[in-house]
């Protein structure tokens, strides 16, 4: 039975309790209001942050590429230093930490920080830690130390961390407490995933009253493979040494890049840019001299995504696609199989009466060539003929920029949107651009503006056109799959935009067969691939040799496909001032393909000078 009386008793107890609370609130808020406000103003709360460990970066097979290890650091609590004990602490520090100069020690005591970092205790004997316990102004905090295990192997992919600047402090909320921020590479692109929340230490009058533990950053597993990366770097280094030996250039040949991309997904298996650097230097503190030295060689640039080069003949596949798709062939041919005669030069006239002669790289000519032969031998005349046809048919009409449209559809002159910062987009020139340049960069263009000769330059990847290795790789991938999407290193947090390109499987097979001709007898890269014997029957590629202005040696390009019957990887190699693509970039790629096909590696040897 329910008892109303007893329920009233309970509510009465509650009422008494509640009146006690009201009394307390009244005392606090009305009677003691002013007094307590004074108390609060005299309270002195301060916060100090200890960085959170960053997430690890792992390769495809789970090998650690970057890790953050907690190490004990000695800190000096400034609030506990006074005139009486300052000399004792100064003496203790200079006695126990020999390598610190007196100036550095003085700086510790003049610092504005609540806690001043003195040293990493792991670098000293353990009994020092026992001695420290007697000094109340010393405090040991575990702080993470970033280590890049493979040193310079991943300098451009992983990047490095550094002290945040003003903009970074605003952009990344944890940067202030973590005292570091990703400066380049994946460390920057995935800063929000990798960085954790710093530990927050609250002090009142110098005493620690609360420690909020840090939340570590998340790990990321990326698509690169340590072993592939190692082979790629070795091969590129060999290629650069070889180029220096073979060419008598004004400048030292030292820059180059390789991208190895999986064809089906677009993920990056290896990405190397030379020269490189050891990102651990930034953790330990890099000297101004070292920094300047590295900066002078452009070691901080990732040429795979930032190097802007005219692509030379590797660009001919764009015209190849256009020719098949639009049915535009040289004057005397009506289809891709029909042969025309290449005599080593092309003379032609324009409507304005001007007449010009263009010389092919092979003065005696390529003889009878059709589209396949033109790609195999990298015949310029054939492609110039296509450009002339476009110019004569569509010049000064809306369809004039047909070749540019095809290039842009493959992703040239726009960012590939790979998950790395500071990518560059390059240029595909057209009439509009030249009109703009007349005003902004008059030294680069003639007063007449865009002419047929410019289109002829463009079709063989010369002139004002610039591309990055990643763009070239992604464009070939689009041609071989019909899908254009952003290449990536870490796919869990990325929106991959797939765009279908109208390419038939018939065309893909046609193109693969012709790329195969390049690495086989009669092809420009045959000499470089000869060591692989019968395997060349299933390998393909395209050489490129881009001319540079002035005394500069040519830029050496090669785009390789590991297998024609089952294409898995695209290998794009570029060596700045490396000379002919078939001589330097092709053998570098060949060694990488040997690795990808699990063959024995043979050294990079000089190929054949073509183009």
């Amino acid at each position: 039975m329910f008892s109303k009386l007893r329920l009233n008793v309970i509510f009465l107890i509650f009422a008494i309790f509640l009146s006690l609370i009201f009394r307390e609130l009244f005392i606090l808020q009305i009677i003691n209001n002013d007094e307590n406000t004074q108390d609060i103003i005299s309270q002195n709360f301060e916060t100090f942050y200890i960085p959170a460990p960053r997430g690890e970066i792992l390769d495809l097979n789970g090998n650690k590429l970057a890790e953050s290890i907690l190490e004990p650091y000695l800190f000096l609590n400034q609030k506990k230093i006074n005139e009486e004990n300052i000399t004792i602490y100064k003496q203790f520090i200079s006695f126990n930490f020999n390598e610190l100069t007196n100036e550095e020690i003085d700086n510790f005591f003049n610092s504005q920080e609540l806690f001043v970092e003195i040293a990493n205790l792991n670098e000293y004997e353990t009994d020092l830690r026992i001695k420290i316990q007697d000094y109340e102004a010393f405090q040991i905090f575990n702080q993470p130390k970033r280590t890049y295990i493979y040193k310079d192997l991943f300098s451009h992919v992983i990047g490095y961390i550094g002290k945040p600047n003003q903009n970074e402090l605003i952009e990344y909320s944890n940067a202030f407490g973590n005292k570091t921020v990703g400066k380049n590479g994946l460390e920057r692109y995935y800063e929000n995933i990798l960085s954790g929340q710093p530990s927050e230490i609250t002090l009142q009058n110098g005493e620690i009253i609360e420690i909020k533990p840090a939340v570590p950053g998340k790990d990321i597993q990326i698509t690169v493979d340590v072993n592939a990366q190692e082979v790629v770097k070795e091969s590129l280094q060999q290629g650069i040494i070889l180029a220096n030996k073979s060419f008598d250039t004004v400048n030292l040949i030292e820059r180059g890049a390789v991208v190895v991309q999986k064809i089906d997904t677009g993920e990056i298996t290896a990405m190397v840019s030379l020269p490189d650097f050891d990102p651990n230097q930034f953790v330990l503190g890099i000297s101004e001299f070292e920094f300047k030295k590295l900066n002078r060689t452009q070691a901080f640039n990732n040429f795979a995504i930032q190097g802007l080069y005219p692509p030379g003949s590797v660009f001919k596949v764009v015209a190849y696609w256009l020719a098949v798709n639009e049915g535009i062939f040289p004057e005397d041919a009506s289809n891709s199989g029909q042969y025309v005669n290449c005599e080593g030069s092309l003379s032609f006239g324009f409507d304005d009466g001007s007449k010009q002669v263009y010389q092919d790289w092979k003065p005696e000519g390529h003889g009878r060539v059709n589209l396949s032969e033109a790609l195999k031998q990298s015949c310029n005349v054939y492609f110039w003929d296509i450009a002339l046809k476009i110019w004569r048919t569509f010049g000064n009409t809306d369809s004039e920029a047909m070749l540019q449209e095809y290039s842009k559809e493959l992703g040239f002159s726009s960012l590939s949107k790979i998950d790395l910062p500071f990518e560059k987009e390059g240029v595909i020139p057209d009439r509009e651009l030249f009109e703009d340049w007349k005003i902004s960069k008059p030294e680069l263009v003639r007063p007449e503006g865009w002419l047929g000769g410019d289109l002829m330059n463009l079709i063989i990847g010369q002139g004002a056109i610039t591309t990055t290795p990643i763009q070239v790789s992604n464009a070939y991938r689009a041609l071989l799959t019909g899908i254009k999407s952003n290449p990536y290193l870490f796919n869990e947090d990325l929106n991959i935009n797939e765009e279908n390109i109208n390419i038939s499987s018939e065309f893909i097979n046609f193109l693969l067969d012709d790329l195969n001709l390049v690495t086989n007898p009669g092809g420009t890269a045959y000499r470089s691939f000869q060591v692989m014997g019968d395997l060349t029957y299933d390998i393909g590629g395209k050489t490129g040799t881009a001319q540079n202005a002035g005394d500069l040696n040519n830029t050496s390009w090669f785009v390789g496909v590991d297998s024609i019957s089952n294409p898995k990887y695209l290998i794009v190699t570029v060596v700045e001032e490396g000379g002919s693509g078939s001589a330097v970039a092709a053998p570098v790629s060949r060694r990488i393909i040997q690795y990808l096909l699990e063959e024995d590696l043979t050294p990079v040897e000089f190929g054949e000078i073509t183009e």
Binding site: L7, F17, L18, L28, T37, E210
Partner: protein, 358 residues
């Protein structure tokens, strides 16, 4: 039973008064949390965004229970109690965080089974007492739940559960002698536990410290100062210089101190009178309803809610030692909001079934 017309807000509409009160408490919580963080952002880590999400979840639960008839709740009392026991056993196998195993990590928020236990407890006790089926199994379930919560360890919830048991038996016509015997037994067992070191000395010390030394817990000292800052009108109305003060767990257990700072003595009185007013409405329902089960259910919920409020405020103003209970509907926290929403939903249903639509 009469066939009831089901409308969008429950059979015969919803009780405007209950939903109004519920929403007022939620909105007060939003304003208080906004005063603490002072930031607006659509980040799930933002406390205001979290609380609004929890409130929406809570509203859903509120209406869900509006559709569950009281006879069904009565029928489910045993099932609820057994599932509560299973959940409490399960939580002992989770990962320890901050020295206790209290929650299941559900990604977006943590689920605290002890919040569920509180509701299951009231429903089960109401069923047992109204039916007078005082069997051993029921007693065993009740005691095991209290012990399981205690072993998390969660002293605050243990005290609340014990008080709910005592309170609900007290309002039935059980002999006072029996209750007294129960109380004595509790004290004896507490000292036995103490003797065998089964009560952590830390917990005992906290209690003895509180009443022996002048120094209170640091957070309580800070919260008292913060309450003072509110004055008569609070920060928001009186245009005084904004002085900030550091109080730990500001958004959860100590949210009342921040509320008191923002809205002053006036605000505190208003909030507490809203709850007292709600109490009177429910009290009149307890008197008028004919069902014994509903009487005990409502009384149990009232004891549960008011006990939590009183303990929370008493802790924050420093009248009792630190326990760590949330303030119903004011504190940030998914489990607590969903639990209180369930209680409000059931109360709403009882109002409807008694045709007390206002």
């Amino acid at each position: 039973m009469i066939n009831r017309r089901i409308t969008i807000l429950g059979p015969e509409g919803t009780n405007v008064y209950v939903i109004f009160q519920y929403l007022i408490f939620c909105v007060i919580s939003w304003f208080t949390l906004f005063n603490i963080t002072n930031e607006i952002g659509l980040d799930i880590q933002n406390v205001l965004v979290r609380q609004i999400t929890f409130t929406l979840l809570g509203l859903t639960v509120f209406f869900l229970f509006t559709y569950v008839s009281i006879s069904n709740i009565f029928a489910l009392s045993n099932v609820l109690m057994i599932s509560s026991t299973i959940l409490l056993i399960g939580v002992l196998f989770t990962v320890e965080s901050l020295g206790a195993r209290r929650r299941y990590d559900l990604g977006v928020f943590d689920f605290q089974p002890s919040e569920f236990t509180k509701i299951a407890f009231v429903i089960f006790l109401a069923a047992v007492i109204s039916q007078k089926r005082n069997n051993l199994l029921g007693l065993a379930l009740i005691l095991s739940n209290i012990l399981l919560v205690y072993s998390q360890p969660d002293l605050g919830t243990t005290i609340i559960l014990l008080s709910v048991v005592l309170g609900m038996y007290f309002i039935s016509d059980v002999k006072l002698k029996t209750l007294l015997a129960f109380l004595i037994m509790m004290f004896v067992s507490f000292f036995i536990l103490l003797e065998f070191d089964l009560v952590s000395s830390f917990q005992v010390q906290r209690i003895t410290d509180f009443y022996s030394a002048e120094i209170q817990d640091f957070s309580q000292k800070q919260s008292r100062l913060q309450i003072s800052l509110g004055g008569f009108l609070g920060d928001n109305l009186s245009n005084t210089e904004n002085i900030s003060i550091f109080v730990p767990v500001q958004t959860t257990d100590f949210i009342f101190s921040s509320f008191a700072k923002s809205y002053g003595f006036i605000g505190c009185i208003t909030l507490l009178f809203l709850w007292i007013f709600f109490g009177f409405r429910v009290y009149s329902l307890i008197i008028t309803t004919n069902s014994e089960f509903e009487k005990f259910l409502l009384a149990g919920f009232m004891i549960l809610l008011y006990l939590q409020i009183l303990i929370n405020i008493a802790t924050v103003v420093g009248l009792i030692p630190l326990t760590g209970d949330p303030f119903p509907l004011l504190s940030l926290g998914g489990s607590s909001i969903i639990a209180v929403s369930t209680i409000f939903g059931i109360i709403n249903r009882i109002f409807i079934e008694n045709n007390q639509v206002i």
